[in-house]
Symmetry: C2
Subunit: 465 residues, 2 copies
């Protein structure tokens, strides 16, 4: 069932371009939904993207949307858009089980702020997609749509795979370290990890770096989902929220990009390095100036701070999660993975001063990032350290694989910097997708979206076999 991935020919499922046909009556959101359900029926046995589907509820919502288009009164630019929700977020009509057996059958019947906003905008909430356990690294059953022996990435595994397999045009993921951008990059999606606090997390406040963000088949759908949510539910508590226009910003060519290596550079496989260097050449050929660390002390300084991002974020997030996880383990420890327990043990060995030191490191990195703000239009780097790794499952009696959903090493910098980034499906390595990401200063989400749109439209992708 799986396909060899070629970014030049792969056709992602899109929505925004179907709206004219809904308005003129030549097509309907209901028939669009049926197409999604057919694809799900076909691909889901292998991909395993969903925890639960609400087909009846989705058909009802799509019919209501169809009627609104007939009446010439769609609720928003995403009225009728089928969307899937990562199973960390609560939904009033489906259980919320967070990839953890301790939450089996958990059904709080609440709508998360983002889900609520999506329904208000007329979107069709179709199902809950698989998350790695509690948003951590213990994988769920989902496979990579382009090779079922590989991970789709995590923790937004199901959201990434559902979009990549054309089951839905869009899905909501969440990121703390690298959980939107990495799976999107492993699966050939576009995705936005917004400025920290850009999209209201509602009751699920989680950690100081967690964000909600859309996976999509195209930049236009990605932006519309993000901004229609932000219009209705705003940003996180205490944050200004996502800024930007109510329709996807026009493609814009960046003049100058900073090439960031990050800690990931040292562990990149040769083919992926060749692919990325090829992509950089294509950007230069299009007249874009690239700045590198060797020529600019401030870029070198930023590289020095973000090379510590995996360690810094690896201290911050487990510490912030430890109450929730300790309480869960105390109550239902037999249903929590050994992988999660090992992370908890690490966090519980920390002191408040260890955490405080990590927060100061994070703030220093943010200042180093702000300092390069007017050197260039944006920064570019890989979204993942090569193609999605093989994941044969844990082997009884063997040590646990440390990163079964792949390594977030290229993602922890933007998470730590609170910086917006967009991943673009511009490379294929060994027949698998590898993404590149563009990253801006805080609140430049719309600007990064405009650059991503231009780069995807104008720059030749790179294939390395």
């Amino acid at each position: 069932m799986s396909e060899h991935y070629d970014p030049r020919t792969f056709q992602a499922l899109t929505f925004h371009d179907k709206v004219p046909s809904f308005l003129d009556g030549s097509d309907t959101p209901r028939s669009y939904l049926e197409q999604c359900l057919e694809t799900i029926a076909e691909r889901e046995p292998e991909v395993k993207a969903y925890v639960v589907l609400n087909e009846d509820g989705a058909r009802e919502a799509a019919d209501a949307s169809t009627q609104r288009y007939k009446d010439g009164k769609p609720l928003s630019t995403i009225d009728g858009l089928p969307i899937s929700i990562k199973d960390l977020l609560e939904t009033k009509d489906m259980p919320t089980q967070m990839g953890c057996e301790a939450y089996a059958g958990n059904f709080p019947t609440n709508d998360n702020a983002a889900v609520w906003a999506l329904r208000e905008a007329g979107a069709v909430v179709l199902g809950k997609t698989v998350t790695a356990e509690l948003g951590g690294s213990h994988p769920g059953p989902t496979t990579n749509p382009f090779d079922p022996s590989r991970t789709p990435g995590g923790s937004s595994s199901g959201s990434a795979a559902a979009v990549a397999s054309r089951m839905v045009p869009t899905a909501i993921g969440t990121q703390v370290g690298g959980s939107i951008i990495r799976p999107a990059a492993f699966c050939g999606n576009v995705a936005l990890k917004p400025t920290q606090g850009g999209i209201n997390r509602g009751e699920r406040q989680a950690t100081s770096m967690s964000t909600h963000g859309p996976h999509a088949g195209c930049v236009e759908d990605m932006w519309q989902v993000a901004i229609e949510i932000a219009k209705r539910s705003g940003g996180d508590r205490g944050a200004l929220g996502l800024f930007g226009p109510m329709t996807a910003p026009a493609a814009a060519k960046p003049d100058t990009l900073i090439v960031l290596e990050t800690a990931g550079w040292a562990m990149l496989d040769d083919k992926s390095k060749i692919a990325f260097e090829g992509l950089l050449e294509n950007l230069q050929r299009a007249g874009i100036t690239l700045l590198r660390r060797v020529d600019y002390p401030l870029i070198e300084k930023l590289e020095q701070t973000i090379v510590e991002a995996p360690a810094i974020t690896g201290n911050i997030t487990p510490w912030e999660n430890r109450w929730a996880q300790r309480n869960l383990v105390n109550l239902k420890g037999e249903f929590v993975s050994e992988r999660a327990k090992a992370t908890l043990a690490k966090a519980e060995a920390m002191t408040p001063d260890d955490y405080r030191a990590a927060i100061l490191d994070r703030e220093a990195a943010q200042r180093a990032h702000a300092a390069i703000g007017n050197l260039a239009d944006a920064a570019i780097t890989l979204s993942c350290p090569g193609p999605a790794p093989l994941w044969p499952g844990d082997i009884q009696g063997q040590p646990l694989a440390p990163r079964p959903t792949g390594d977030a090493i290229f993602n922890t910098p933007s998470s730590m910097l609170f910086a917006p980034c967009v991943t673009m499906p511009l490379m294929s390595v060994g027949g698998m997708p590898v993404g590149a990401q563009i990253m801006g200063q805080q609140h430049e989400d719309a600007r990064m979206t405009a650059f991503a749109r231009w780069i995807i439209d104008e720059i030749d992708p790179v294939l390395v076999d």
Copy 2:
């Protein structure tokens, strides 16, 4: 049962000064606890401070503490300290009902981060104290220990009253607008509202201004509770947490204080104004210089920003609470007060831009506060607009009283500024306590504690009949 309040003669229950007798074996934490339980038996029928008591668990904890002192190995400076927990915070051994019928019988069996830290430090968690519904303004049954026809304040009603009636030396409260400082001031306690993020809220992230803080009978106990928690569970997610020494900072005399009027000045009753002016005279008589708005444009500027604090915080907090409250009302609306529903309706009429504007106003006020940082050692103002108001209860068929637990008008400034403040029981008006508070720059919690200690020790209280 109630007493006419005289700050010169009222003897609050204290703990720190009993520790030597635990160490030399002349007294024990168990017998200290029994004294608390006797007072509770005597006062609770009128004061109604508790939702639930865990006498057996407390006795067991006190016995364990007694043994540790016998062994010469107390766990901390608060080993054996009886403490009560506002019923918004989860406790593994008591239900968590949040003053809301919708949560009747709710028993998640988790320990909040602060509660966990208290137990690790050897404190004796004695009971859950009444909170106004969901930490809002709909009152619980607690009465003011100095006059049962009056409110104890809210939302930390039970915590304030339990300390004021000598049932326990300390209790944990929480503040978003004014819910630690106001009830403490109405009840003659000392209390610390820490720098925002000072004490880890654990899973209960709540809103962008919510804080945990201790009520106590003396500054020493107040500080020890705060710092022993902070030592173990640190600050909030993303925050640096409470700074300071591991024993209560020595009394320190401030040289210069800024007198802040706040929006509360205009609504202050004559007697309370006379009392506060009398207190200011006593400070000047002790050689402390007072700065006022008329002489300093930067103080005037700060006054202009904080005069809007009630409106700004009144937009921010209900907006941040609206998902939790909407979900609750959808599920169990018949068990939620009309007062809470009215607040929800107001929040749901706001747009993300309304919220964003309030956040910008808050940031502007914080900059105005930072700008006065080196004008003086601290700022001083009242902690409440006069003595606790009468609260006869809602009257069927009549409009709901807007602020049955009193007005937070003197508290929203420090909440909005994320600034630490300590309330000091220095005035009696009409036989009821009225507090004054000292407020510093962010992270000056220990410094404000040192000033509060000096002022309480050295400055004559003021009585106005």
